[in-house]
Structure formats: structure tokens, C-alpha cells
Amino acid sequence: MAKQIEVTDVDAYYGSHKAIEGINMTIDARAVTAFIGPSGCGKSTFLRTLNRMHEVIPGARVEGKIRMEEQDLYGSDVDPVSVRRTIGMVFQRPNPFPTMSIYDNVAAGLRLNHRYSKSQLDTIVEDSLKGANLWNEVKDRLNKPGSGLSGGQQQRLCIARAIAVQPQVLLMDEPCSALDPISTLAIEDLISKLKQEFTIVIVTHNMQQAARVSDKTAFFNLAAQGQPGKLIEMDETTKIFTSPTQKATEDYITGRFG
């Protein structure tokens, strides 16, 4: 059910501060798109505009057009809640709900929105946990709190929670930056598996990771501190990492940059 996203001339503001400017891109369905770029260039900001999470920050607003398969996400009659239901998100730091058990965490998005029978929930929870490669580790303690898991397990729990609501697109903001190499590998495997079903966008500071998991890579940069961030170049990952057209991209990838 994955869908493609079309972005046209998007600017995003925090109050009067313009954080990103003039972004145009197409995010392919059933593929992994990686965002790379120096700190503060607006990767997280742009990611959050894609599922209308940007506007929950007081004073923040977005200009431009974002369409998912001919549907304008920022149309005046579009319910942002339903946008977020279709475009899920995984955060940098694992954030399971502390008052809920593992089971309840995965069921949260379902249960908080609709009524499901116990057996329906059981199936979805099991499928989602299996989808997140976590089932075997937690199947005997589904009723224990999610905060009792290791960091890597918590992050996979958050991924299970996000895919349980059956989104079309999954956004991940540095999902591995708080994890050890083994958990990182587990999540990278998971991403490769998930891309058969979902459109995936991942922000990462790890070039190898971008090279390993993504099909396309977008490089963001900002001209100077205080200037808005811009999309410099976007292409097939192999192309970006072997023969980028822009000098800035090459400098960044080869490490000749700040």
C-alpha cells in the first residue's frame, strides 16, 4: 500500500525564522530515501513537514505543496490527524509510553483510535512485533512495561507501534543514533524488509548507513548559519556516493566539510 510523495516549493518556518527553503523532490514508493547533511540544515524539520508534525510546535508553519498520490496533504479541509495516521514516524530517541505495557504500546495507535476485538488486536500486535523483529524477544513478557526493554529493543518496539496502524509511509529521524552497532544492524535489516510494504524516509548522519540501506539519497545543506537549509542534490544512492554532480555534496561525503 506504499505511496509516492511529491514535494513542491516547500518552505518551513519557526516563528519568523525560515528553517528550510524551496524544497522540491519526489519520494518513491516502496523504496528507502535517505536524507543526509550537516547538523542544523533542516533535515528533521523537513521530515516533520511530511506528516504535518511540524505545525504542532507553537509558531511553526509550512508553505508550499506536498502531495501524496494526487492528494494535497496541506489542503484546507485535510485532517492532520488522518495524515499522521497514514504517514507514521519513528523518533531519534526511543519513546515507548511509560505507563503502558509492551502489548499496550503496540496496540496504542489502534486502540486510541478505534474499537478492535481482543483477537483482532492480538493478531495485529503479534504481526507488528514480528514485523519489527522483536516478537521472539518479548513474546513471554507482553504485559511488562515497555520501558523495561533495552534501547535497541525499545526502538524496535516504537517501529512495531508505528507499523501497527498500517501507515503508507514511515518516516525515521536518526532511528539508530542512540543504538549500539548490533541493534543498528537489526534495524537496518528491518528497514530493508519493511521497504517491500512501506515507503521509507530515513534521516541519518551515518554515510555507510545511507549507502547500505537507501535507494535514493538527498543531500541538504545551508549556505551559512542563520540561512535556511536547502536541498542541494538528490539522486540514486550509488550515483550520489560515486559521482555527485555538486561540489558541496562531494566535499561532505568525502569528509572535507566542517
Partner: protein, 295 residues
């Protein structure tokens, strides 16, 4: 090797001395803080036990003559429990909703600032004034009778700001990450508040409410002006004068004979025990609800 190699040093005598000195100061401060607390408890318990018996807990003061022994505080206990329960019923929902508005919805608007301002002012309202307000408004202007309900309204005026402030503090402690995690699952704002934010802040909110209850349960002045006095049992808080434990203590302690003074001490002890039981109940609820227990 010319540079001085760093070596692991023993803790110097001076540091040990400072450590012990500061420790002694901390314990001293603790002891000083505890002295009044313990002596009040001791005084109330030792004086109150004389009349803290079944008769005291199950009888009223009806038909007890000025010099008679016996009698009890049943009517006052009933009164206090009903008045405090009604006061909480008014102020907890209003206070909680106000706090939710302030933290979750009021984005620096005029309304938010003025509500905050008035809540602060309400915190400073002396309890007599709350009683006077209900007396003037409810009883004198609207012509309603003295009743437990009038007392409960006066108490709720005193409870409200405490509930709002403590709930607000607790809601602000809930990390924004959790709200965003819930939004990102496509959960609407009000469901996020009800299912994620409030449960996370639950323990703290319960503690805040208990403190507010404990504060008003011992208030005498507002009751004096709103529930009036009675020596008989009145179980209906909406009709006719009721008694309250603080009033009972106030009334009995003003009488000249020792039997009445004993009853006053026993009344004070009863009030302390009630507050203690309420606190214990709240502790149990929060313990029972805490995620740590399920681990």
C-alpha cells in the same frame, strides 16, 4: 620523566572533617524540622486517646448537657467527610480541566495569562474571605439555608488554586516526546491528553489533590460562616446546619469543663487520623497504578 605523575591520593583530613560537619548540619536541620511535628502529634495523641473510643466515634452531642461526660463527634465526622467530598467533587474536575487548558491548549494567549493571574490571586485569599463570600452570596443574597453544601463551596474556593497549580506542574513535567509519539500514530489531541498525558501525570496529580484535601479538611473559619453549628446528626449536606470536625474542636475547646476539653482533643485526633487514612489510600492507589510495580 620530569613531569609529576598523577597519583591516587587519599582523602585529606580536611575533607573528612568538612564532610562530617556538613552531615551533622543536615541531620540537625532535619531534627529541628521534626521537633514541632512530633510534639504536635504527641500532644494530640496523648491528650486525645482519653476519649478516642467507640462512643466518641458513633454518638453525637445531642442531649449531652454542658457538664456531662460522654457524647461524641459522629455528627462532625459525617459532616467533615461529606463537606470535603463535595468540595473535591467541585474543585477537582474544574481544577484539572483548567490545568489541561493552561498546559495543552492556552498557547501564551491573553486568556491563559489572565487565568494564571487569577489562580495566583485565589491562592492568597484568606479562608475567612472564602467563607464570607459564600455567606454573603449564597446565604444572604440568594437566601439559601446554612448547609454542608454551602461549606463545601467555601472549601472548594480554597482547594481550586492548589489543584490547578499542582496539576499544571505535573502536566508540564510530561515530556513533549510522548505527546509527539502519540500524534505520530495519528491519535487526536484530546485522546492523547486523556490516554497518554493524564495517565503519565496521574501519580503527581493524585498527590496534589491529596495535599489540597488535607489543607481544607482542617479549615474552621469558612465552616463557621457557612455550615453553622449543630449538636445533632444531619446526614443531608444540602439541608440545614451541619457540623464539621474543626468546628467541633473549636466549640468543645471553648467550653470550661474538662470533659469538653477531652472531647476537643479526641476530635483533633480524629481529624488527623482521617487525613492519614486518606493519604494512605492515595498512596495505595498510586502504588497500584505505577508502571514500576508491573515489572
Amino acid at each position: 620523566m620530569s613531569a609529576v605523575t598523577p597519583e591516587i591520593q587519599r582523602i585529606s583530613g580536611m575533607r573528612r572533617f568538612k564532610d562530617k560537619g556538613v552531615q551533622a548540619l543536615v541531620y540537625l536541620a532535619f531534627a529541628i524540622a521534626v521537633v514541632p511535628l512530633v510534639s504536635v502529634l504527641w500532644l494530640v495523641i496523648s491528650n486525645g486517646l482519653a476519649r478516642f473510643d467507640m462512643e466518641f466515634l458513633t454518638h453525637s452531642m445531642r442531649n449531652i448537657g454542658a457538664r456531662d461526660a460522654g457524647g461524641g463527634a459522629y455528627h462532625a465526622i459525617i459532616g467533615t467527610l461529606e463537606q470535603v467530598a463535595l468540595a473535591s467533587l467541585i474543585s477537582v474536575p474544574i481544577g484539572l480541566l483548567t490545568a489541561v487548558y493552561l498546559v495543552e491548549y492556552g498557547t501564551n494567549g491573553r486568556l491563559k495569562r489572565s487565568i494564571s493571574f487569577f489562580v495566583d490571586i485565589m491562592t492568597g485569599v484568606p479562608s475567612v474571605v472564602a467563607g464570607l463570600f459564600i455567606l454573603a452570596f449564597w446565604i444572604l443574597i440568594l437566601g439559601m439555608p446554612f448547609s454542608g453544601w454551602a461549606g463545601a463551596m467555601a472549601l472548594s474556593i480554597l482547594m481550586l488554586p492548589t489543584v490547578v497549580r499542582s496539576a499544571e506542574e505535573m502536566l508540564m513535567l510530561v515530556p513533549n516526546d510522548l505527546r509527539e509519539a502519540s500524534y505520530a500514530l495519528g491519535v487526536s489531541k484530546w485522546r492523547t491528553i486523556v490516554k497518554v498525558v493524564l495517565p503519565t501525570a496521574f501519580t503527581g496529580i493524585v498527590t496534589g489533590v491529596m495535599l489540597a484535601i488535607a489543607r481544607v479538611a482542617g479549615e474552621t473559619a469558612p465552616l463557621l460562616l457557612t455550615v453553622f453549628f449543630t449538636d445533632s446528626i444531619n446526614e443531608d449536606p444540602f439541608n440545614g446546619p451541619q457540623m464539621g470536625l474543626p468546628l467541633y474542636v473549636f466549640d468543645q475547646a471553648a467550653r470550661p469543663n474538662d470533659t469538653a476539653i477531652d472531647r476537643a482533643w479526641a476530635g483533633a485526633l480524629t481529624l488527623i487520623v482521617i487525613i492519614m487514612l486518606l493519604n494512605l489510600a492515595a498512596r495505595l492507589i498510586t502504588y497500584w497504578r505505577s508502571p514500576a510495580r508491573k515489572r
